[in-house]
């Protein structure tokens, strides 16, 4: 949707998108920052407030719609993508957003997440990934690290974690991005790009649960470690990271490796980020701490894939053009009828 801003729209401020409900997350929760970023980003989207619908599943993050002064549905555990699909198919003009957590979207709701992505329904998903079950008071989640000690795994978790963005790419996702909760500017920016993307947008947010999994993302959020543990992606630009901007990524024998700049290696030798390359994007999802800096920004974007909701509308339109608007009498009569007059029968 790259149409020019509609000047007849009301000028909204962030507070126009705040509902009158008291926000009930734990003090210091990363969700506050995300809520603020979302409320700040919406006025720049040039959409009417009544056209936004926020949908969530169950969990701490899933309380999100209650705090937004838009239409919203707090649904059941894991099913937000299915509800969102129904909403979008019923009214494709709506701007539908899912905000939910890692347990909700990747564990109990993993199936729906896969299928909404493969259909490329034109909705936006914000995954608040805190690598823990918060609302049920601290069990390990599908993104928790191997060996994690929690209430349900006192001797350490034996599950290997799911890589959300690898799953999104494998499912055919057409917009794949990542940021961290403390970086409000990045989230706002990604939300705007996501909103303009036709198709399912998926933004993973590293979000801190300061009660049950505090500091899970400290390596990526702290000023001193962040330049070494993350890499900011920019389309067409060389992949450079490090506090001194002295390191970069190259591809050798089909693998990504870290190199130090200098000693004959210049920026031109580095990988240049190509957000249209799905295979490369998959490789980027495999860059994980402690061995690699974790990519932040837009990993992949395919703006040309048709969206499910527009295909559905097209099909209805074509069927109507071909057969004409449905005639109830013809439908009820079916292929053949017979008429009874008085007691007599005629075919």
């Amino acid at each position: 949707m790259t149409t020019a801003p509609d000047t007849s729209l009301p000028t909204y401020k962030a507070k126009d998108f705040a509902s009158d409900q008291d926000v009930r997350w734990c003090p210091g929760c990363g969700d506050y920052a995300v809520l603020k970023a979302v409320q700040k980003a919406l006025p720049s989207m040039h959409r009417k407030r009544e056209d936004f619908v926020f949908v969530s599943g169950i969990g701490c993050a899933a309380r999100f719609p209650y705090y937004m002064n838009t239409y919203g549905m707090h649904s059941i555990h894991g099913r937000a993508p299915a509800f969102a699909t129904g909403i979008k198919l019923a009214n494709p003009n709506l701007d539908v957003w899912i905000v939910s957590g890692d347990g909700d979207l990747l564990s109990i709701g993993g199936n729906h997440t896969i299928h909404v992505l493969r259909r490329n329904v034109d909705i936006n998903i914000i995954l608040l990934n805190n690598r823990i079950y918060g609302l049920t008071k601290g069990q390990y989640s599908p993104t928790s690290e191997f060996g994690k000690k929690t209430k349900s795994t006192p001797l350490g978790s034996l599950d290997f974690p799911l890589n959300p963005l690898a799953m999104v790419i494998a499912s055919g996702g057409t917009f794949v991005a990542r940021c961290i909760d403390i970086d409000l500017k990045a989230l706002e920016k990604l939300m705007l790009i996501a909103e303009h993307h036709r198709g399912t947008s998926f933004i993973e947010v590293y979000q801190d649960c300061n009660i049950f999994n505090h500091q899970a993302w400290f390596y990526a959020s702290q000023k001193d470690s962040r330049p070494e543990t993350t890499i900011e992606l920019e389309h067409g630009k060389p992949m450079i990271f490090g506090a001194e901007k002295d390191k970069g990524l190259v591809e050798r024998d089909g693998r990504i490796e870290i190199v130090e700049l200098g000693n004959g290696i210049s920026e031109a030798d580095l990988l240049h980020h190509d957000e249209t390359n799905r295979n490369r994007a998959y490789m980027l999802t495999q860059l994980l701490q402690p061995n690699f800096p974790e990519p932040m920004g837009v990993l992949f974007r395919d703006p040309d894939e048709p969206t499910y909701d527009s295909l559905v509308e097209d099909q209805v339109k074509q069927a109507t053009e071909k057969s004409g608007p449905g005639d109830l009498r013809t439908l009820i009569e079916g292929p053949s009828t017979w008429t009874v007059q008085g007691d007599a029968v005629s075919g």
Partner: protein, 633 residues
């Protein structure tokens, strides 16, 4: 349409009703053959009732008993409601079909077999003992009028010069068999010839149409010339109310009914489904109705289907989903959410024999309690149940009318028997169908504050259906308990109890707009035979026969299960005995006992089939003779 009435020989017999069955391998085209016979019989003016009976396996190994597919049809010159208890004439295309169907043939009944298929290999495949051939069994020969026809050979010979391959030719055997039956029951060939030409010519297969027509005629003339039967039978047209009729099966009537409901409501219909027997046809039918503004969505699973439908309802579509018992179980949590959200939604359950996978192609009525109570906590929904294939149309419209009025989900309990069975349907006068009135508010109901999404209409207690995209009515719905009126999250104990009672009261208030229970027969007396759902045909026929035998017995049929019709309690008081036949272990009986504190006697069978009329008559007579108490099966 003119009929090929050949001159009626002197020995022709006029009879009132006949039940026939075509049986063969799943690949033998028995459903198609039975369908043609049904269409022709409807066109010549007989009353009809059909029972397609097929295995869950699509193509079980050829010649085995578990691969046998059957199609039973009763056609008559009087009013009938069932496909018949026993079969007067069976067509068995192979030994397996004979073996699995012979018991249902009446003593002395006609059995036409394709004798070419009674080879040693085939006899062994269906498990007959070594060296045994039923066609050589004197006891079988003396119990039935077995007519052996070399159908395979005759079909091949009649099509020898067609230039078609053996495979195509052998596939015409069913038309040869149909031709014989058309001769035996004095049916015209033209309607089937036209259907065959339409079916194959559309695909450019004129040659295939031609050989099928030729085989059909060959069978017909074989019947005429071979003097296999001492006489043929003539079944006069039935007396119908004047009007235009068509043949309809329950699933199709259901689909047309919901599409009609959407037109009556001036809304788009959104249907979400996940393939499941015997409900998949709903999705197939509705997927072809796109030019009626119908959107169909084949979801990734049963849960996604109901959730997408709830989403579409929230956004303003007339939304529904369809499934069978196992799917209802999976949808239970989401249905509870729909109860909390107070949105209109219809969930079709085409019941099948269970539990678990059970017998997917066989019928049962055992989801009544699941429909009423399968959700967590107190989550009442409206429950309706069509009584016959044609009634599916009426009840589909009723389902949405009630759902929209109360802003409450509806479960529509069809079953495999009426979903696949067909009967004549007197077409409704479209203009006389009552519109379904729906209002989406556009103005806020609270100018001084936030919109109040749970503000209620006094008469119905329903909340406004404000849809996203409407300025000023922004609101949030969700699964957490709602404060009445404001819709805000509330843990207040008194409010929770208020809301629990209110969600039930909304449904009770529908009693004022649902028709009273109609009783057929004496207004009081010996006994009331009370059924619900797809058993209406069997129960009505049994009640008629019992009255003919002098019993002062009445019958009535419930199509509204929640709420019950307002007069149900009064009706139950007027009879000495209340007898409830059900294809389950006594679910309605339990509800009636609990709600009205009266004794109710059950007649319960769970065999994957509807009731045989004779069984019902016998069971009821036993109840009437006995002291009050349940009938032991």
């Amino acid at each position: 349409m003119s009929a090929t009435h050949t001159k009626m020989p002197a020995e022709d017999q006029q009879i009132d009703a006949v039940a026939i069955r075509f049986a063969g391998d799943s690949g033998d085209g028995m459903q198609l053959t039975g369908g043609f016979f049904t269409d022709t019989s409807a066109i010549v003016g007989n009353d009809i009732a059909t029972f397609p009976d097929f295995p869950a396996e699509i193509r079980a190994p050829r010649g085995t008993t578990y691969g046998v597919s059957g199609f039973q049809l009763q056609f008559s010159s009087s009013d009938i409601h069932t496909p018949g208890d026993s079969v007067n004439a069976l067509v068995a295309m192979n030994p397996a079909a004979l073996k699995t169907n012979i018991e249902d043939v009446e003593p002395g009944g006609i059995v036409i077999v394709n004798e070419d298929e009674f080879t040693e290999v085939n006899l062994r495949k269906c498990g007959y003992p070594d060296a045994y051939n039923p066609l050589e069994d004197d006891s079988l020969q003396s119990s039935y009028r077995i007519v052996q026809v070399p159908m395979s050979r005759l079909t091949r010979e009649s099509l020898a010069d067609s230039g078609m391959g053996a495979k195509n030719i052998d596939r015409c055997r069913n038309m040869f068999a149909l031709g014989i039956m058309y001769w035996l029951y004095d049916r015209p060939l033209e309607p089937t010839i036209q259907e065959l030409e339409k079916k194959f010519n559309a695909k450019g297969n004129e040659a295939v149409a031609e050989i099928n027509v030729k085989a059909l005629k060959a069978g017909y003339y074989f019947g005429e010339n071979a003097e296999l039967f001492p006489s043929r039978f003539h079944i006069a047209p039935a007396t119908f109310e004047p009007g235009t009729y068509r043949k309809i099966a329950g699933n199709e009537a259901t689909a047309i009914g919901f599409a009609t409901a959407a037109q009556l409501a001036k809304k788009r219909l959104f249907y979400a489904g996940y393939p499941i027997t015997p409900a998949s046809e709903l999705l197939h039918h509705l997927a072809r109705m796109k030019n009626f503004g119908v959107r169909t969505f084949q979801a990734e699973d049963e849960i996604a289907a109901v959730c997408a439908a709830i989403g579409a309802a929230f956004a303003g579509d007339l939304a529904m989903c369809g499934t069978s018992g196992p799917g209802i179980a999976l949808k239970a949590e989401a249905m509870g959410l729909a109860v909390m959200l107070e949105l209109p939604l219809v969930i079709v359950d085409v019941q099948r024999a269970g539990p678990a996978t059970g017998m997917p192609t066989k019928t049962e009525q055992a989801d009544l309690l699941q429909a009423l109570y399968c959700r967590p906590s107190e989550a009442p929904v409206i429950v309706v149940a069509p009584a016959s294939p044609a009634d599916c149309f009426t009840m589909a419209i009723e389902a949405f009318r009630l759902s929209v009025r109360a802003m409450c989900p509806v479960i529509y309990l069809s079953d495999g028997y009426i979903a696949n069975g067909a009967e004549p349907w007197k077409l409704p006068d479209i203009e006389s169908l009552e519109p379904i009135s729906i209002t989406h508010p556009t103005e806020t109901n609270n100018p001084d504050g936030p919109y109040l999404p749970y503000m209620r209409v006094e008469e119905t207690l329903s909340r406004p259906w404000a849809v996203p995209g409407t300025a000023g009515l922004e609101h949030r719905v969700g699964g957490l308990e709602k404060q009445d009126i404001t819709g805000e999250v509330s843990y207040d104990p008194a409010n929770h109890e208020h809301m629990v009672r209110l969600r039930a009261e909304k449904i009770e208030r529908l009693q004022s707009v649902i028709p009273p229970l109609e009783v057929v027969g004496p207004a009081s007396g010996e006994a009331l035979l009370l059924g619900w759902g797809g058993t209406q045909g069997s129960i009505t026929t049994a009640a008629n026969r019992l009255r003919e035998r002098g019993h002062k017995i009445a019958n009535a049929h419930l199509r509204y299960l929640n709420p019950f019709p307002k007069n149900l309690g009064d009706v139950l008081q007027r009879y000495d005995r209340i007898i409830v036949p059900e294809i389950n272990m006594g679910q309605l009986r339990m509800l009636l006992r609990a709600k009205f504190l009266i004794d109710v006697i059950g007649i319960n069978r769970v065999r994957g089939k509807s009731f045989l009329v004779n069984d019902l008559v016998d069971d009821v007579e036993r109840v009437l003779k006995s002291d009050k108490g349940a009938v032991k099966q």
